[in-house]
Amino acid sequence: MKLLLTITLAMLFAGNLWADLAGDFSTANEFYARGKYAEAATAYHKLLGTGAESPALWFNLANAEFKTGNLGRAIAAYRHAATLAPRDAEIRANLQFVRNQVQGATIRESRWRGWLGTLSLGEWTILTAIAFWLALALLTARQLRPALATRLKTATRLLVALTLGAGSVLAVQAAGHFSARTAVVITPSAQARSGPFDDAQTAFSPHDGAELSVLDRHDQWVQVTDGSGKSGWLPLTSVEVLPGA
């Protein structure tokens, strides 16, 4: 009974929370529609500050940031949106559009990475888990009913292969997510220095919106490299570090 009450209250709370967030989202959209992009961006940020996120929320924030002239912040937000909804054509279209506005060297996603990115990390995880469970279910069934072994042979092999394949991709994606990092420059006049110090010599000057690979991290600095092989240290205030390469 207590559990039922708890579940009911939790559902009510979730329902109210969603309604509140949807109302604030609509208000932010209204700001955007009226051309008040900075206010809209602030409102979207406030929503994200609640801990809730959705592809639409990140997408709209990105739009507002772009309209405000913040290419880097827009790209970072689009990438967040793409992480949650990797097959959303509108997100990809706007991300590409904004990327086209960025000047200077920047790293680009490889083709095979792009293919792997068709599914999000969570989706790869679920796909692998489903294949894993089904494969083991068939293997278990074969132990319990040896007579089925012949009939389940092909399916079992396919599922084991699928598990291994999906698991491999998942491993690659997970490695990219948990170890590799991308830094998006979010200030118009960032200067990458040869060392993690304010008075270090300037190595190169990435433009706002440039996407850089993170090589190392030291206190409030990240060592980055651009697509042309230049590397340097940028303060964390100049970049937004995202998971994934």
Partner: protein, 592 residues
């Protein structure tokens, strides 16, 4: 020189005062007016002649009258060698209500003698419009009239009432006009606006009056018979002074005139507020009352689903524009409408005419939208008492589906000539979508990882089970061992039951069978072939204890005897069962 003159003057005053004390003292009370209307003030003067008073005397409390001390004034006269002096204490008398008041005689002790004043009467009347006779006779210095162009107005209809301030031709100047009461129940009243450019003069009786109109914007907010007023006001007027003798040339420069405070009032004005007719009321009517025109524009008309369209509606004319709202018609259901903004540009000083501009942001919800449907604005015109509507025809739209917009030239997406060069980003999404809470990816959540152990454990369980099953299937002796163990377990229970029921025949039959089955399994021979002789011959080799062998031997013998004399007591059967159990247990532990 000035100091010398001042000292001389003070000496003269002091001398006069001293002589005045010696003269007979008097105390006189007087009012400058015996009648006044509520809102006006009178001056009470307490004059002491030939008496030396240092402080203003206290006044009796009179309900309905309020006294406010103004200050003293002194006078000094020297006539025919006789000097006299007086001091007058002045008070403002402010009536709080209408009625007849009496200021009683006051007794004041001054210099050892008691002085008594005369009682005074004061009449306070309610304000109101003066009578026509008074006006025509020119008795009224100033008066107020309220004028409304109509006696019947519609609910929500704006109308401008006028307070006309009449000033007699001898009024030199006015100041301090202040409305003290303006009852407008049932109406929303605006600010009173003086209309100096509409001053005019009229002849009333033998006098000429100047009319100063004061506009009062009103909007009826309640239906039924209503009353406006009586409006009351206070006004300071400056009239020519009483002593205006002498040369008129000098008089115009030096005579400042006499200031008088007058109280003004109007008669109440009855007006009937009619409800808006229910008949023929248009569906989209939102309460706009007046006479209006409309202009409508919307853009852009070539856009993508989700792009905003700004619809601009301008309502111009005269009426209660402040209350005009923009209603989103039902035909716009394919558009998401944000709350409109509005801007009002008044064309008159009352806010009853001008242009109200609404901006409505609309976003098409799907690509099937082909037009912005017609917009109709309905209003009620109180001049002809009818509803009217203004319609803006539908505006064609060219909409592109969002998905058909430029997709990036990424893997699996080739740009088409149509969308190769997008001009702008795609618009924001209207719906929040499925919410998630940012946190650790599923892959790294301990609960999820622990869950993956379930199929593994299930598989391992099945594997073990399969191995044991196969092992059993390939080992008949093991299979027999398990079957006998099962048989013995259930048999021993049955044995107890037979003993309890004293069913000796079944008891011994079962006892014999259990021993045969267990010994046969251990000795790997058919159970039916087991006899008492096998206990000695073969069981000894397996290492059975002597006690067990003895028990088994005894039990076999008893079983044989029971075939001929089966009847035994329950206690004896129980002891036999107790003997069998440890023996069988030991047998099961022997290695064959």
């Amino acid at each position: 020189m000035m100091r010398f003159l001042s000292k001389t003057w003070l000496v003269m005053i002091a001398t006069a005062l001293l002589q005045g004390v010696a003269a007979a003292a008097s105390f006189t009370a007087s009012l400058d007016r015996e009648a006044l209307t509520l809102g006006e003030q009178a001056t009470l003067s307490l004059k002491f002649e030939g008496a030396d008073t240092q402080n203003p005397p206290g006044l009796p409390a009179i309900p309905g009258l309020q006294f406010q001390y103004v200050g003293p004034s002194t006078s000094f006269s020297f006539i025919n060698g006789q000097t006299s002096s007086s001091i007058t204490y002045n008070y403002l008398v402010i009536p709080q209500r209408d009625g007849q008041f009496t200021i009683p005689a006051m007794r004041i002790q001054v210099g050892g003698q008691t002085l008594t004043s005369n009682p005074l009467k004061l009449t306070v009347t309610k304000p109101g419009a003066p009578s026509a006779d008074d006006v025509n006779a020119g008795n009224e210095v100033a008066f107020l009239k309220f004028v409304l162009p109509k006696k019947q107005v519609y609910l929500g209809e704006p109308i401008v009432g006028t307070l006309e301030l009449y000033l007699r031709d001898d009024v030199q100047n006015i100041n301090g006009f202040q409305l003290t009461s303006s009852p407008t129940d049932g109406f929303s009243a605006g600010k009173v606006i003086e209309q100096n450019n509409q001053k005019r003069r009229v002849q009333m009786g033998q006098r000429t009056y100047t009319i100063i109109p004061l506009a009062l914007p009103l909007t009826a907010v309640r239906t039924g018979p209503l009353t406006l007023g009586p409006f009351t006001a206070n006004l300071g007027v400056i009239l020519p002074g009483q002593n205006q003798g002498g040369d008129p040339f000098f008089r115009q420069f030096f005579n400042q005139g006499e200031q008088r405070q007058v109280s003004l009032g109007t008669d109440p004005f009855s007006v009937e507020v009619l409800p808006l007719p229910a008949q023929n009321r248009p569906a989209g009517f939102t309460g706009a009352v007046g006479d209006f025109t409309m202009s409508f524009s919307a853009g852009p008309t070539n856009l993508t689903v989700g792009d905003p369209i700004t619809a601009r509606v301008q309502i111009s004319g005269h009426g209660a524009l402040d209350a005009v709202t923009l209603a989103v018609p039902d035909s716009w259901q394919n558009f998401k409408a944000y709350p409109p903004t509005s801007k009002f540009e008044p064309a008159d000083q009352y806010g009853f005419a001008g242009t109200k501009t609404f901006e409505q942001i609309l976003t098409p919800q799907n690509s099937d939208v082909r037009e912005l449907p017609a917009y109709t604005f309905a209003f009620f015109n109180p001049d002809d008492g009818q509803y009217h509507h203004l319609t803006q025809p539908a505006i064609p739209l060219t909409l592109h589906a969002a998905a058909a917009n430029p997709l990036p030239a990424t893997a699996g997406n080739r740009a088409t000539p149509e969308n190769a060069n997008p001009q702008d980003i795609l618009p924001v999404k209207e719906h929040l979508g499925t919410l998630a809470f940012a946190g650790t990816p599923l892959l790294a959540q301990p609960g999820f990882l622990a869950l993956q152990a379930v199929p593994v454990l299930a598989f391992l369980g099945a594997l073990v089970w399969r191995k044991r099953t196969d092992s059993l299937a390939n080992n008949p002796r093991l299979r027999r061992q398990r079957a006998v163990a099962q048989l013995v377990a259930t048999g021993l229970n049955d044995l107890d039951k037979f003993a309890a029921a004293n069913r000796s025949e079944e008891f011994f039959a079962l006892l014999f069978r259990l021993m045969q089955e267990q010994l046969g399994e251990r000795l790997d021979v058919p159970a039916s072939a087991i006899t008492e002789a096998d206990v000695d011959n073969r069981l000894v080799r397996l290492g059975a204890s002597a006690a067990t062998l003895e028990s088994l031997r005894e039990l076999f013998q008893l079983c044989n005897q029971a075939r001929y004399a089966p009847v035994r007591g329950t206690g004896e059967l129980n002891s036999l069962a107790a003997k069998l159990k440890p023996a069988l247990a030991e047998l099961q532990g022997l290695k064959p």
